[in-house]
């Protein structure tokens, strides 16, 4: 449920299974940009042999390690928990390390490009600073007043469950860079910042909810969301992002009335 919906089962994969080979030939079509070479981005095709059960990240590595070392992308954990490698694969935002080749129609060229709406620095690497700036703007930390308890603060299992979904965020930016409103002008806080505000607004231990709501009441805050659900579809952690945004909107409305 949390992996983005997959494309149809591949016929190339079936063929590979029948003939008993592990590897299939794929074309990786990467949108490359290197400011040290040219001001224009260009599509470059790479023909490689991969196991369809491998990840798109493995295919990128194959290109980098065997064909062209200058291909540049971020990655670290390789299993979808660090949020380094959000990119647009076949036109949709995904983590390269959580997308298996067999799930992206390998019989056709697989397109890979940088996420939208952010400054492309090189190949698949974008400038993440504005994204983290929006995150910092919502005060993403527990705010409490009064004396600290000597032991832990108590919290019922139900109160803990209330914000569980939004604690899963790995700040990969797949959501924000899939949002059509964000592409327009980049001023919108973006779903990721709202998700992280939600995580605290609905934490029973937190006392800074009012301030965060006030920040998101901004003209570039939650009201810019047009419920297009691209964020929810893109989130590799299966967070119901639009639902979180909706809950923040409703909190703002009920706070007013």
């Amino acid at each position: 449920m949390s992996t983005p919906t997959l494309d149809k089962h591949s016929s190339a994969l079936d063929a590979a299974e029948v003939t008993g080979t592990h590897l299939i030939a794929i074309t990786l079509r990467v949108r490359r940009f290197n400011p040290e070479v040219s001001a224009e981005a260009e599509w470059v095709d790479y023909q490689i042999q991969v196991d369809p059960k491998e990840r798109v990240l493995d295919a990128l590595h194959k290109v980098k390690w065997e064909i062209d070392g200058s291909l540049t992308f971020r990655r670290s954990c390789a299993h979808g928990v660090c949020g380094s490698d959000a990119m647009r694969i076949n036109g949709k935002n995904r983590l390269a390390c959580k997308t298996l080749i067999k799930d992206v129609s390998p019989e056709k060229p697989i397109t890979v490009e940088a996420i939208k709406g952010m400054t492309v620095l090189k190949d698949l690497v974008v400038d993440m600073d504005p994204f983290f700036q929006a995150y910092r703007d919502v005060m993403p930390f527990l705010i409490t007043t009064g004396n600290e308890p000597t032991r832990e603060r108590l919290q019922s299992a139900a109160d803990r469950e209330r914000f569980d979904d939004t604690t899963k965020c790995i700040l990969c930016a797949a959501c924000t860079s899939s949002c059509p409103v964000f592409w327009n002008d980049g001023q919108y806080f973006g779903p990721a910042a709202i998700v992280n505000a939600h995580r605290f607004i609905f934490d029973s231990r937190d006392e800074g909810g009012e301030q965060r709501l006030e920040i998101l009441n901004d003209k570039d805050g939650v009201w810019r969301c047009r419920t297009t659900f691209n964020c929810t579809d893109a989130c590799p952690r299966g967070i119901e992002v639009t639902k979180a945004i909706q809950e923040v909107k409703r909190a703002l409305i009920t706070r007013r009335f």
């Binding site: 919906t5 949108r31 981005a41 647009r88 076949n90 036109g91 949709k92 397109t111 490009e113 940088a114 939208k116 492309v120 899939s178 059509p180 592409w183 047009r226 419920t227 297009t228 659900f229 691209n230 929810t232 579809d233 119901e240 639009t242 639902k243 909706q246 909107k249 409703r250």
Partner: protein, 126 residues
């Protein structure tokens, strides 16, 4: 905007695109519609002349399109409102979208005769 492939969004994104397009269409139609209706205040003859053009087959077809736009916008608008106010709305948005489409097609089929009927009669005589 950095060129690249089109973002392959799903129901949510395309319904929003359609909602936006239909909203703008309706707005401009409404603008014109108020102007033409204003003629009743000035010159009933001219008004009837304008309305007569509404009854031609071509405009009839456009009218059908307008109904399509309004109905889609209205139904999808209700879906958006459900997403916003009904706790389970976001989870069922896709189902609601397909319900909207289903209802919309039904209504549009139902509208064929009332809206296009007279145009057909004009064209093919009856």
């Amino acid at each position: 905007m950095p060129a690249g492939t089109l973002y392959r969004g799903r129901e949510g994104m395309w319904s929003w695109v359609a909602h936006r397009v239909t909203g703008v269409l309706i707005f401009f139609f409404l603008f014109v519609h108020v102007l033409d209706t204003a003629l009743v205040r000035v010159s009933p003859e001219d008004y009837d002349k304008v309305v007569a053009t509404y009854k031609t087959p071509v405009v009839g077809l456009l009218e059908y399109g307008l109904v399509a736009a309004i109905l889609f916008h209205a139904l999808n608008g209700l879906r958006i409102i459900a997403v916003d106010y009904w706790t389970k709305g976001p989870r069922y948005q896709k189902q609601m979208f397909w319900s909207v489409m289903g209802l919309w097609i039904l209504l549009m089929l139902g509208a064929i005769y009332p809206v296009l009927g007279h145009a057909a009669r004009d064209l093919f005589g009856s």
